[in-house]
């Protein structure tokens, strides 16, 4: 496939591996924010190819892992109602809430459907005027314009039976939260290429300056990741800390302006709780007041469901890169992909699931 295969080329990948080995002289800890990048790293077995000085930490980059427990519980409560068709991306179906998950609700007869696009959920609402269609609007900035468009479409069509359960999260505040933690070990970042495709990368310059970290906007194919790592290591070795764009074929500095306009029209910034990390101010989107008719949290009185994380789950420490999954006492025993205690074990690019699948053959990279 064009513009995919070339960036999976073995020869090119080997060149970058050689380059990284050549320029690395000291230990460096680098975090990739985006779950899609984690997926590539695990799928292509990139970590063991790197020199032992490089430690990769998988950041809180997937909506599966960071959606607050309360929201999952709310989703389950709404989905269990007989008058509701609950629609969601596939990723969210296995995420454990306090006591169950959406897939189990579906198994018990709940009308839970996987959709590929938020517009499919709007279509379902048109086709089912006597049901309430709710769409689980999770994601980073990449998905925000699409979810905004769904709401905008619903309004344009005059739909009264469509709403979204919104749990958008933003990357730059998360990065700052990680960097400002006193126990932070991350020295460089691969920024999320598709988030930056939408939002541009202007907002990362102040972060790079304030915390003295190189930030390289990186794509998702193995060659992209390796080139992104090479650029990051190069900066680290030279004591530089600026923002660079590796993913030039997709990302412009200003991002996609029409998409940003739509986001601003429909959403506004809010504080959000990140599962395992806690409240990060200004780190989420919520629907603006004029779109409150499409806010599922208001329409369905699911109230303030307080939720307790399993005391055994150290997802927060893992997501911040402070612990490795195999350092968790429940890892592989009480917590497995079949019976996960927390989200990073459910998602295929959650750090814990990645270690569980990958680490059984390969010794874990250590410093």
């Amino acid at each position: 496939m064009r513009y995919i295969d070339e960036f999976r080329d073995a020869g090119t990948a080997k060149k970058f591996v050689a380059k990284i080995r050549e320029i690395t002289t000291r230990p460096w800890t680098i975090m990739e924010i985006c779950g899609g990048q984690t997926h590539t790293i695990v799928k292509y077995g990139i970590e063991p190819l790197l020199p032992p000085e490089i430690m990769l930490v998988h950041g809180p980059g997937c909506p599966v892992c960071v959606t607050a427990l309360e929201i999952i519980d709310k989703a389950i409560a709404i989905a269990s109602r007989p008058d509701v068709i609950f629609t969601s991306f596939g990723d969210m179906l296995r995420v454990p809430g306090s006591s169950t998950d959406l897939l189990s609700v579906k198994a018990k007869g709940g009308n839970v459907r996987i959709v590929y696009s938020p517009l499919d959920a709007v279509r379902l609402a048109q086709q089912n005027p006597h049901r309430k269609v709710v769409f689980f609007a999770v994601g980073f900035e990449t998905t925000a314009p699409a979810n905004a468009m769904a709401v905008w479409q619903a309004e344009r069509l005059g739909l009264t039976n469509f709403s979204i359960l919104c749990s958008h999260v933003l990357v730059p505040p998360a990065m700052e939260a990680i960097l400002s933690s006193p126990t932070n070990r991350v020295q460089g970042f691969l920024a999320a290429g598709h988030v930056c495709t939408v939002m541009g990368y202007e907002e990362y310059f102040p972060i790079a300056r304030r915390y003295h970290v190189p930030i390289v906007v990186t794509g998702f194919e193995p060659v992209d990741i390796l080139q992104g790592l090479a650029l990051t290591v190069e900066q680290l070795e030279n004591g530089e800390c600026t923002v660079e764009n590796q993913y030039t074929r997709s990302v412009r500095r200003e991002g996609n302006v029409p998409a940003q306009k739509l986001i601003a029209e429909v959403f506004e910034r809010t504080d959000r709780k990140w599962r395992g990390i806690g409240q990060i101010p200004g780190s989420g989107y919520r629907l603006r007041e004029q779109f409150s008719a499409y806010d599922a949290e208001r329409i369905f009185d699911v109230g303030h469901l307080a939720a307790e994380e399993s005391p055994l789950c150290i997802a927060g420490l893992v997501l911040q890169g402070l612990r490795k999954p195999h350092e968790c006492s429940a890892f592989g025993s009480r917590c497995t992909p079949e019976r996960p205690l927390g989200a990073p074990m459910v998602s295929s690019e959650g750090a814990c699931a990645a270690y569980y699948h990958y680490g059984r053959v390969q010794p874990h990279p250590t410093h």
Binding site: M1, I4, R8, A10, A13, K14, V17, G35, G36, H39, V42, K43, Y44, G45, I46, E47, P48, L49, C62, P63, V64, F89, G90, D91, L93, R94, L103, R113, I114, V115, Y116, S117, D120, G139, T143, P222, P337, E338, S347, S348, E349, H357, Y358, R360, V361, Q362
Partner: protein
Amino acid sequence: MAGSPTYDFSAGPACPIPISDYPTVLLAHGGGGKLSQHLIQKLFLSQFQNPHLAPLHDGAILPVDAGRLAFSTDSYVIHPIFFPGGTIGELAVNGTVNDLAMCGARPQYLSVAFILEEGLPMGDLWRIVLAMRQAADLAGITLVTGDTKVVDKGKGDMIFITTSGIGMIPEGIDIGPERARTGDTIILSGSIADHGIAIMSVREGLEFETQIASDTAALNGLVESMFSASKAIHVLRDPTRGGVASALNEIAGTARVGMVLREDSIPVREEVRGACELLGLDPLYVANEGKLLAIVDAASSERVLEAMRAHPRGRDAVIIGEVIDDHPGVVVMKSRIGGSRVVDMLSGEQLPRIC
């Protein structure tokens, strides 16, 4: 519930039960009385005529040779019942034929049990029966006994089919997962993920404009030609639900051997790849209905591969990996860039992702 089928079978004979009289299946059609008899005679017997079935006795009485008999059963509950490349009908026939072939047997006789939902359009049932007849003819298998029940509307998903089959295993053939040995070659008969993606492409919300067809096919002919080339075939498996990854994990677990696969060698059709990329699915875990995995003694693998490629069902056969000593029970794949990862069993069905 009962939509008109999307795929045109009108080239075949017309439905012998006048649709104007009985446009849909009624509860009485499963009751054992006149209407049942009518259904059996007109719909089933007319297609599956043979001396074993004709007596319509409680069971079929069959002559068999001495030796080892393979016996397999499977149920088919797929929805949608019509999809690009086939119907639930040929899936039900080919599925059991293939299970027998994977035991090293020559499939001979088949039974079929239908559970029909009241209200199923008679035209749909007829098309499925026609498809089963065609599939049985192609596979060279005879339907010798069957049963029909009808359940209340709402109690069944249009139609459920259970097929069971028997066949003798020729002398000298010894197939079983425990027979996989270090050094054996792992051969795949053709492109993967066609069936699973074809099904997904019809389901709501995941439609594609380009048609990807299911690969449903009987593999007993292919297996016979493989055995003509060499009897040193240790394991045969058709990677249905759970795909190639699950099938190989099961074998590796049973035989306590490790396996290494090469990502580059695994054939995936371009459109199927496009669909998988779009949905974030790994083709290794997607179902196939007309492909097989063979674990073959290394010295015989070239010969077996040649025989496969000479057969219409094995044209794209390729070696995808080896059985090794390391990490028993674990399947590892070498990526095209040289790294490797564990190809694990999935905890559940693979779901499309956006992340």
